[in-house]
Every structure is written in structure tokens, then in C-alpha cells.
């Protein structure tokens, strides 16, 4: 027998549409923040555990040994997070940036979307367009949407990501770094006569509002002519985006 429950289906569909409207009028923001805040401690731990745990654990080992491995991994995660945050604090203090450090809560991955949800929000000074970095000032993406308790970050590898960049080779060659299918990044619009070599480092150019000059983006791995005027440099990321757990949002001093 076909059980459709049209009344319930219509009611829930109407409730959903109402919820969508309420979200865009920022009426549900409090509850959304509450959910993220409540889940944040467990998510941070599970995310770090998933990112750092070696999947090649020997299954032949006994339970006691496995528990020791898990305990060891938990300690490694704590130490790695501490080291990473310490590096960030040192870098940002030295460069006199304002910053807000935070942890990754989850990833949003699809063929055309590559993003992170981090526990840095409006309350910490985050806003749309601000750059997000790791460890030694390596850019990983920019804030795309922000709420009081959390932010959504579009990674450099996302097909919609665009960053004004320059090659750190003394010639100040300009270009735009874009994501490619969520897999790689490439620097486009490099003039054909520009002296660019494999191994050169691409950094942010400082031409974008809110993005400071000199944040490391990646190393040139391959150069290809894309038209009669421009060439494209394929970049190798200097961090493993899948393993990120602690990040920092760089906030302009005038904010």
C-alpha cells in the first residue's frame, strides 16, 4: 500500500520554506550558533582525530596495543595542535597582524565546492573576505560566510576561489590564483614575457582589500602557455588541506 501522508509532507515542506525565509532574515541565527557551539568541542576532537589518525593501523595487533596506538595518536594530535598554534602566534606577533586563531570543525567537499567550517566568527572579528592562514603564514582560503560563532571558508582549491598573487622572484610578476575542480591551484594571466621558473613561490600581491601582501600560496610545479599573451603556472600547495586542524583568520588593523 502506498503510504504518502500528504498532510504531513505538505506541513513539513511549508515549515522548511518558512525556516529558509527566517534564516535569510537572520531570525534563526541564534539557534544555528547554538547548534555549532554545542557541537564544537566534540567536532574539533573528532575532526583532528580523523585528520591525524594513521589509517594503516596493524589489524593483527592486540586490543591493548591498539588502545595504546589510539592514546598515542590523541597525544600527538594535542602536541601538533599546540605546535601549530604556537607557530601562528609567533608569526602574527612578529608581523604585527591582528588575528583570531581557531579550530576546524568540519569540511564541506563536493566536486565544485571545497570549504571548511571554523570556530571563528563575528564575535572574534571575522568577516567575509578575510584571509585564513596556517602555521608559517601559508594562505589556505578566504572567509565566504560568517556567523557569530563560526565562519565558512572557501579553500584555494575551490573552483570559485580567486586570489590576486605575485611571484616572489624579484620581478613582481602579477597574476590570479584560481582553484581547479577542488583538486589543484593554478596561477593565470601571467604575461608570456615574464621570467617565471619552476620552483618559484607564489605569494599574495596585496592588491586585494583585506588580504595582506606576502602570504605564501604555493610553489610553481609546471608552466604552460595558455594563449599568445598569457601563460599559466600550476602550483603545488605547501600544506595538506586534508590534515588541517588549527587555522587563523588575519584581521586588518583598521577593523
Amino acid at each position: 500500500m502506498f503510504k504518502f501522508s500528504p498532510k504531513l509532507s505538505i506541513i513539513l515542506l511549508a515549515v522548511s520554506v518558512l525556516l529558509i525565509f527566517l534564516h535569510y532574515f537572520e531570525i534563526t541565527t541564534f539557534f544555528e550558533n547554538l547548534i555549532v557551539k554545542a557541537l564544537s568541542p566534540i567536532q574539533t576532537f573528532v575532526y583532528s582525530f580523523s585528520a591525524k589518525l594513521n589509517p594503516e593501523t596493524d589489524e593483527r595487533c592486540g586490543e591493548k596495543y591498539q588502545n595504546l596506538i589510539i592514546e598515542n595518536e590523541k597525544l600527538k594530535i594535542t602536541v601538533a595542535e599546540y605546535d601549530s598554534l604556537k607557530k601562528l602566534v609567533n608569526l602574527l606577533a612578529k608581523e604585527d597582524y591582528k588575528y583570531a586563531a581557531g579550530m576546524v570543525l568540519s569540511r564541506d567537499i563536493a566536486s565544485d565546492y571545497q570549504g571548511l567550517i571554523i570556530n571563528v566568527g563575528k564575535k572574534d572579528g571575522a568577516r567575509v573576505g578575510l584571509p585564513v592562514v596556517v602555521e608559517d603564514g601559508i594562505l589556505i582560503g578566504k572567509i565566504f560566510a560568517v556567523s557569530d560563532e563560526y565562519s565558512k571558508v572557501v579553500l584555494l582549491t575551490d573552483s570559485h576561489s580567486e586570489t590576486a598573487a605575485t611571484i616572489n622572484n624579484g620581478n613582481k610578476t602579477l597574476g590570479i590564483v584560481v582553484g581547479e575542480h577542488g583538486q589543484n591551484i593554478k596561477m593565470e594571466l601571467i604575461p608570456n614575457d615574464a621570467n617565471v621558473n619552476v620552483g618559484d613561490i607564489a605569494v599574495t600581491s596585496g592588491l586585494e582589500q583585506d588580504v595582506p601582501k606576502g602570504l605564501i600560496i604555493g610553489e610553481i610545479a609546471k608552466i604552460q602557455a595558455s594563449s599568445s599573451f598569457f601563460k599559466t603556472a600550476y602550483l603545488k600547495l605547501l600544506v595538506t588541506l586534508e590534515k588541517l586542524s588549527s587555522v587563523a583568520v588575519i584581521i586588518p588593523i583598521y577593523d
Binding site: 501522508s5 565558512k152 572557501v154
Partner: protein, 166 residues
Amino acid sequence: MIKKIFINFILFFSIVILQFSFVKVLPSPVNNLNIILTFLILVTIINYKKALYFAVFFGIVSDIYSLRGFGISLLSYLFLVLAVNFLYNNVFTNRSIISLATLCMLGTLVNVFSINILSQIYFYLKIEFFSPRISIPLFINLFWQIIFNSVFLIFSYLFLKRYIKR
């Protein structure tokens, strides 16, 4: 009653944390597994009304943790439950494992299709700034998602059939 609500509550948040903070971080192609989607298909064939409620709650949380416009996951999960319920009661009536796998495949297709259609609508309504892009990785990810979802659903179904009913 309170015990049941509490169990559902724990189950709901456990799946949310597993999906967004564990599965998504796993290496590709395993990260294509969608536990929420398989759970919704499973609940739909057991208890349709309950699946509708779960679809709303999972949709809200998925939208919070997604870069896509708010409401896309919510509506796509509701469409998924409606489509799976229709197919289960009208097309795949022999209740075999093959039917279940096919149902999962169609459910995944409905979900991906509705997400892309809704993203396009959101883009034209200027709610979303990014238009969905149809590319080869989309189809590769879809292929892996169908495989992993089907395997996960079949194992979950067999597990429930064997242990929960006793």
C-alpha cells in the same frame, strides 16, 4: 516516549558529527560516502513519517555546515524521502537486496540532481553567488558516492534485519 526521543536525539547528533567531522576528512574516494543520505533511505523504508522529520532536522544541520545556500540540503532531503517512499511502494516492491541497492542509487541521483537544480535556482534568484558547475569530477564523485552509499546501506539493512528484530 522520552527514552525514544532521547535515543533519536543521540543518533541524530552522532550521525551529524560522523558525517561532517569524520567521513568528510577521510581520504578520497571514501569521503564521498553520505551517511545522512543512506540513513534517510533506510528510515524511509522502515518508517516514512519519521524519515520526514529526520529529513528536516538533517537538512537544517547540513545547511549550517555547507557552503551552499541555506535550504538547499533541507529541500533536497525532503525530495529524497518523498522519491524513495514513492519508489519503494510502487516500483521496488519485491524487497530484495538488488532492489535496495537500486533504490539507493536512484536516491543518490535524486539528491545530487535536486541539489544542482536548487543551486541553479538560488543562483538565478541571487541568493547564491556561485553557479553549480557540471564537470568530470562531479560524475566521478557521483559514481563513488553511489558505490559507497549502496554498500553502506546494504550492510546497515542486513545488520538491522539480523540483530534489531530479535
